[in-house]
Homo-oligomer: 126 residues x 2
DNA sequence: AGTATTGTATTACACGTGTAATACATATGA
DNA sequence: TCATATGTATTACACGTGTAATACAATACT
């Protein structure tokens, strides 16, 4: 079982996606990447990075004068952790009830449904 | 399109589930219901109720001396709103990628998958 | 009628988060 | 060598949330 992953706030999550795409990166690398998508000031992003380090979600290499940062958890495991707690909180624990709602409320196109079915299919012949 | 639903915090969500199950209820009703599942003090629950009222997620009837409370949004729409923002935040926007992960990581039993497939099926013949 | 009880209203306080600014140290360029 | 730029460290501050406690008002009991 994966250990307890600290909470990652919404803004922090943005930072993580940058590091998950590529790491290690310097603070400036992260700042450049994020400033393409957000209007955060560099100091703000720096704060987020520091908080992630303090939370031990991000590691830092201080051997050079300019530090480099890298994720300490895989994106998958963080997503799974978030998904589990989300589903428990909002749907009482079952992914199924969530899916049911999505389907019933017609938020999925025929296309989507076809795709979902094909994702499920291979599992059949296990 | 459903209007903008205010943010409902984790604890507040607990309160909402009580009101969604049955409403209107007095504060004491809500308190009793929640104290079966949590160890919150009555004052705490009262605060949560008041905050929900202030946020206009819960309505209150003050015609009697003892107020009664009731939800102003359906559970479904709140769930959908949460789900959408969650999926966008964590999975880049597609329910599919979330499902893929769940399936690939073997977090679904054969049973679950069979059920999901049967939920998807009826839609086929639309 | 006076007091205890029970609801409602107001206030509290710490911690996380969003959103930085300021201070400090070191390397770099003039 | 001194000023400047650039990176890191520290500090700030408001708002939401978790978690209540205290104050106030009206009813109910003695």
């Amino acid at each position: 079982m994966s250990k307890n992953i600290p909470n990652i706030s919404e803004s922090e999550w943005e930072v993580m996606t940058v590091l998950w795409k590529e790491a290690p990166l310097t603070a400036n690398d992260v700042i450049s990447a994020l400033q393409k998508r957000t209007d955060w000031k560099s100091k703000t992003i720096r704060t987020l990075l520091d908080r992630l380090v303090k939370k031990e979600v991000v590691g830092v290499n201080k051997e050079q004068r300019v530090y480099t940062f890298f994720p300490l958890y895989e994106q998958d495991e963080c997503q799974r952790a978030e998904a589990e707690s989300f589903i428990k909180r909002i749907y009482g624990g079952t992914l199924k009830s969530m899916l049911v709602q999505f389907i019933q409320e017609d938020n999925l196109s025929e296309e989507d449904i076809k795709e979902l079915r094909s994702i499920l299919d291979p599992k059949q012949k296990k």
